[in-house]
């Protein structure tokens, strides 16, 4: 029976249909994707579905690896290593891969900010013109009382521009410093080479070609100097001809991934790396191990040392030291890698001395950048930073400019930087993010990220590779941030004393001039335009054939090396444990605002998103704590609270805490998360001018609380496996 549909029922039915289709469209999960809309008229270099590759440099660490960015429809979707680049040959580490999350980070600044009250975190947005004129005015007023601090990943051309600015103003030269460079002990290495060979250059190590490597606390596979380059070298080291696979010994109190891959991990007490190195040199001399050349050099270089007390201080057997000395002395191409500033300059020198004793075949002293106009960001020693803080505190610094270094976070709280900052008239920071330095500045100049910027990087001399990596924007800048180079040039024009030194229209013009000074390289090309194009296209400059490496001269040390036993800070009865501060290979020191790095498991603990306190399981049991219990770690300088991870690969008398968390700023992924062990360190330098990273004692007390620990592994499964065993020694 046909029934006519009334209008009311039709509308009802229609509404129901519409409602269901809306509901269907609201299916869970269809949120926040990018809608792919091809351009109506696509730019010629961006056809749909076909990527364009741009060569540039990675700024995750100072090494200067060459990268290629895969760009589709104007968006950078992947970073790969540049296969042509002699440093990394197409490979790239985790930090480099995570660079895209710097570019597309949701917490990027997009305008210059100015605050009326420093530290209030209440900023007003400024138009660029206004910001530039304010900045110029402040710098002009400060005149020669301007201090500039740069980070070690700063592009060479920016270092150059800042240096020229300082010179034009009559101010001191910019300082290059961050926690990573300090912790890596680069400055101590130059001093060591100066002492041993009279050349204050850095040395490069041929890991891949060595048969025995002794690493004195250098986590070269992890967050040290370049996981990419040393990773490549390590691959060669383990795959030598005729099945030879090298022998790696790692001396450190807490197992890093380098120690995990070592054939022998020697768990020495923190700060005793130098003692052990000297003891080995002494044994080579005294017992006549190896060739006569080596024995002679050892006799000349190794100072007097009481082996028994050195072994005891380090926590090893004398017998083990003898065995280690023998292996080193009798190896064909042994190599010693000095650690970071953990044991101070003398310790670094002692480790380098072993290379001198070995004949220096595995290392090479590095020269200067390939072109005089190229500038490298040479990290300064901690002593220079202390001097700066002193100057700031006495009111001698009227304006402080910082670029690429989060000093307010990366110095020990006890160094007094924030207090000294109060006495500085004007503080301006260049940064893509609001980090702690920005939060404590008057002006924050929104900086472009490296993937949107121009520049170059002279490859760090630690690797024996002569190359300059070029940097170019791979995408259109995402927002209104400006590059520091252009800001400096524009600002300088407003400062009469500096205007004359800065004649370029923009930084690209500056860069072209600098790059034009490079000699002919592998990429070829005649004429400035062709050279510049090739420089960008291939990702940099390197010689057509690798220069012959200079043989290491015989050592010319004036006095035998003598390392003192470490002086630990803190009364051993109140602070029974050693504190070992380290960097996780993923998070490093500065990766906290990148979700890929936060959310991926630390290789040896599988921890994500958190700070942990690594305690030997036997010690944990004595303390009455287990994994997830929150403990308080106190040193004479400060305290922090973090949950315990019962880590079987750390000395029972040592507590290890990773760097990287404990931010109060730096965006949603970093803020309010974990704690920074920099709060536990003293501000004074050790007797050799480096921070006393390794010689602080600590106490651990349970708090009675526990948290849910984000470990990716199932820890009880790994701890017990199929055998329900406890840890050895329990």
């Amino acid at each position: 029976m046909a029934r006519s549909i009334s209008r009311r029922s039709f509308l009802k039915a229609g509404a129901a249909v519409a409602a269901t289709s809306v509901l269907a469209g609201c299916q869970p999960g269809l949120r926040r994707w990018v809608t792919l809309e091809p351009y109506v008229v696509a730019p010629e270099e961006q056809p749909d579905g076909i990527p364009t590759w741009y060569a540039s440099v990675c700024r995750g660490c100072p090494a200067g690896c060459g990268i290629m960015a895969r760009v589709m429809n104007g968006r950078a979707v992947k970073i790969e290593g540049n296969p042509e680049h002699p440093l990394n040959a197409g490979k790239l580490c985790a930090n480099g891969q995570a660079g895209l999350q710097i570019l597309y980070n949701p917490d990027r600044l997009d305008a210059p900010l100015l605050t009326a009250k420093r530290g209030s975190r209440e900023f007003a947005r400024l138009p660029w013109d206004s910001a530039l004129s304010t900045l110029a005015a402040k710098v002009k007023d400060a005149g020669s009382a301007v201090a500039i601090v740069l980070g070690p990943t700063t592009s060479g051309h920016l270092v150059d521009l800042f240096q020229r600015l300082a010179k034009a103003l009559g101010a001191p030269a910019p300082l290059v410093f961050d926690a990573r460079s300090s912790w890596s002990g680069t400055a101590a290495l130059s001093a060591a080479n100066q002492a041993l060979w009279g050349q204050g250059a850095l040395s490069a190590y041929d890991l891949g070609g060595s048969d025995v490597i002794y690493s004195f606390g250098a986590d070269f596979l992890g967050a040290g100097l370049s996981p990419t380059r040393y990773g490549i070298e390590y691959g060669r080291f383990r795959s030598q001809p005729k099945g030879a696979r090298g022998y790696l010994v790692q001396f450190e109190p807490h197992m890093s991934i380098t120690a995990a891959k070592a054939d022998q991990w020697v768990p020495i007490a923190p700060g005793t790396e130098g003692l052990v190195a000297q003891a080995i040199a002494r044994i080579i001399a005294d017992e006549g191990l190896g060739t006569s050349d080596r024995i002679a050099r050892a006799a000349a270089l190794a100072g007097e040392i009481n082996l028994a007390s050195a072994a005891q201080a380090a926590g090893v057997d004398v017998q083990q030291l003898r065995q280690l000395a023998q292996v080193f002395a009798e190896a064909q191409r042994p190599l010693a890698i000095p650690g970071n500033g953990q044991s101070g300059a003398a310790g670094v020198t002692a480790a380098q001395a072993l290379n001198a004793i070995a004949g220096g075949a595995g290392m090479a002293l590095q020269g200067n950048p390939p072109a005089p106009a190229l500038v490298r960001a040479e990290p300064a020693g901690y002593g220079q930073v202390q001097h700066l803080i002193g100057q700031m505190g006495s009111g001698a610094v009227k304006a402080l400019l910082t670029y690429g270094t989060n000093l307010a976070y990366e110095l020990p709280a006890q160094a007094g930087f924030l207090d000294a900052l109060d006495k500085v008239g004007f503080v301006a920071t260049f940064s893509p993010f609001m980090d702690e330095m920005g939060a404590n500045s008057d002006m924050v100049l929104a900086e472009r990220t490296y993937l949107e910027s121009w520049g170059y990087a002279v490859v760090a001399p630690d690797f024996g590779v002569a190359a300059v990596t070029s940097q170019q924007p791979v995408v259109q800048p995402l927002n209104d941030a400006r590059s520091a180079g252009d800001v400096l040039l524009a600002m300088a024009k407003q400062i009469p004393s500096a205007a004359g030194a800065f004649t370029w229209s923009d930084e690209v013009a500056f860069l072209r001039e600098v790059a034009g000074g490079l000699p002919a390289g592998a990429a070829g090309g005649t004429g400035a335009d062709a050279q510049w194009a090739r420089f960008l296209q291939h990702g940099g400059w390197w010689p057509a054939s690798a220069p012959a490496s200079q043989p290491t001269p015989p050592p010319s040390a004036s006095a035998p090396i003598s390392v003192a036993a470490p002086q630990y800070q803190g009364d051993a009865t109140i602070y029974p444990f050693h504190l070992h501060v380290f960097a996780s290979p993923l998070l490093g020191i500065s990766g906290a605002n990148l979700p890929w790095l936060q959310g991926s498991p630390d290789p040896l603990t599988s921890m994500c998103w958190q700070t942990w306190v690594a305690i030997n399981p036997a010690t944990a049991r004595k303390l009455g704590v287990q994994k997830s219990d929150v403990v308080r770690v106190t040193t004479p300088y400060g305290e922090l609270e973090a949950p315990v991870y019962a880590y079987p690969a750390v000395r029972p008398d040592t507590i290890a805490v990773p760097l990287g968390q404990g931010h109060t700023d730096l965006g949603r992924y970093a803020q309010g998360r974990g704690a920074s062990p920099l709060a536990l360190l003293g501000g004074d330098a050790g007797p050799d001018g480096e921070p006393a990273w390794a010689t602080v004692r600590c106490q651990v007390t349970p708090t009675g609380r526990s948290v849910n620990m984000a470990t990716f592994e199932w820890t009880p499964g790994v701890e017990q496996g199929f055998f329900n065993q406890g840890y050895p020694g329990e």
Binding site: Q27, P28, G29, S606, E713, W714, P716, G717, V718, Q720, G721, F722, N724
Partner: protein
């Protein structure tokens, strides 16, 4: 009352014998045996139809609470679909949890229903007469609840139709390699067959309700439609009996195969703790075991609250209890095999599982010992004594205990076993969350709600089977003894 004294009065009007000893025996039989205790016409009908006409406030409260449970079920499921199934407790590697436990559990409890209504009928077990319908209803309602869970546990429930082989533009079948598709086939077969079987068995009673209802109105109309015009002629009864026989013999293999197929969801996997060839019969026996306990529980409840003491007597309680006891022995045998053989094989992952059950960590060991108490200690401790077997309180306790124990058994198999595998780095645990509790409660409320709903309209006891049984049973005197005899 006695056979040879058959007179012209109807059975319920016949006087008791004169001789005292004989009279005593007859009275005892009448009191103990339902099928010998014939009452006037309409007596039984009145008892079973009364809930359809009256309701106590207590019932309405129960109905309301059960309905609320349903609403909670629906709302939680919706929350889950919108928010993502991450709101409940599963994780890598424990990807199945309480929902699958519920799935197996609700299917399992239905097996006793089929066994009682079909297998007992085939075996001509007489105490089955009044209890077969509550049991069948448990099967049908349990399967309804169970059938929700394969949908609820899906990551994308709204795409569940991919499992149905319908002509589609992609020209893809579902994968018949997968035990989940076998589940779909088996359970849909089982549900449809059980529902039809239950309806068939309901038919004569619907006719009774129709004939009994003299006033016109919606009830009369309802019974008229649902009774399909059943008149009770000889031909209709004959066809009815033939149909019941066909179903009886057809549904028994379906019953065995359904839970075997459900067990193959686990046995076909290579997961430690699952990969055991004994799972087929083990699950079937486990299903019967938990089903028998569930049926006992239902019977005790309806007996008390619907005043069915006439129908459910100590003989039925004793019969069900002995059935349960036998099943508990059988189940214990299979359980022992399931643990002995893998332990003997010393597979590392299996060893870890055994260790967890025996020594921890919590909750594996606590649950395991609770399981042994609930499934073995309590039934074996309480059911060996006839007096206790016929006590409603004891039966209720044992019914709850075995249900809890069998639920725990599935929880152990699914959520604990999945936490262990061959890669210790990737072990894990399952943490129960609120949505699972809400939905599980909702599923139980669904079954209760359906029972409530059914009892408001239709008789919950198969009166026609009781009448048929009473027709076929007679007391005869042989010498001085009075015996119960039955027409085949």
């Amino acid at each position: 009352m006695l056979e040879h004294e058959l007179g012209h009065q109807p059975a319920w009007e016949q006087p008791l014998p004169q001789e005292p000893r004989t009279r005593e025996q007859v009275e005892q039989f009448k009191e103990k045996k339902l099928l010998l205790d014939v009452r006037e016409p309409g007596y039984m009908d009145d008892i079973v139809m009364r809930p359809a006409y009256t309701a106590s406030p207590r019932l309405w409260i129960g109905f309301l609470l059960a309905g609320l449970g349903l609403v909670v079920l629906g709302a939680t499921w919706l929350w889950q679909m919108v928010g993502g199934i991450g709101i409940y407790g599963i994780a890598r590697p424990v990807m199945w949890s309480i929902y699958i436990v519920n799935f197996v559990y609700f299917i399992g409890i239905g097996h006793a229903g089929t066994f009682i209504s079909a297998a007992f009928r085939a075996m001509k077990i007489q105490f089955r007469a009044p209890i077969s319908r509550p049991a069948e209803l448990l099967t049908v309602f349990g399967l309804t609840a169970a059938g929700l869970f394969p949908l609820i546990h899906l990551g994308r429930s709204w795409k569940a139709y991919f499992l149905i082989p319908y002509p589609n533009a992609r020209q893809i079948w579902p994968s018949f390699h997968s035990p989940l598709v076998w589940d779909l086939m088996a359970i849909s077969t089982y549900l449809s067959c059980s529902a039809l079987f239950a309806y068939l068995s309901l038919l004569p009673d619907l006719a009774m309700a129709r004939d009994r209802e003299t006033r016109p109105g919606w009830r009369k109309r309802l019974y008229e439609i649902t009774s399909l015009g059943f008149r009770g002629t000889q031909q209709e009864w004959h066809l009815h009996t033939v149909a019941m026989d066909v179903f009886t013999y057809a549904i028994i293999p379906v019953m065995f195969s359904v839970h075997t197929i459900v067990s193959w969801d686990f046995a076909m996997a290579i997961q430690p703790g699952w990969h055991s060839t004994v799972f087929g019969p083990y699950f079937v026996v486990g299903a019967l075991f938990s089903g028998a306990a569930a049926v006992i529980l239902i019977l005790m409840i309806i007996r008390k609250y619907m005043h069915l003491e006439y129908f459910i007597r100590s003989e039925h309680m004793n019969g069900m209890a002995m059935f349960l006891l036998i099943l508990s022995f059988t189940w214990a045998y299979f359980y022992f095999n399931d643990y002995l053989v893998p332990w003997y094989g010393q597979d590392p992952a299996e060893k870890v599982l055994s260790f967890q059950f025996a020594r921890g960590p919590f909750p594996a060991n606590v649950l395991w010992y609770l399981l042994l108490i609930c499934n073995l200690a309590l039934p074996w401790g309480l059911l060996w004594n006839r007096k206790w077997r016929t006590s409603p309180l004891v039966l209720t306790i044992v019914g709850i205990s075995v249900n809890v124990g069998m639920y725990i058994e599935r929880v152990l198999i699914i959520t604990i076993s999945l936490g262990v595998n061959q890669m210790p780095y990737d072990w894990g645990v399952y943490r129960l969350q609120l949505p699972e509790v809400l939905i599980t409660t909702g599923a139980f409320c669904l079954v209760i709600f359906l029972f409530f709903l059914f009892s408001r309209f239709f008789p919950i006891i198969p009166v026609w089977e009781v009448k048929e049984g009473q027709e076929m049973h007679r007391l005869r005197q042989i010498g001085r003894a009075v015996v119960d005899t039955r027409v085949e």
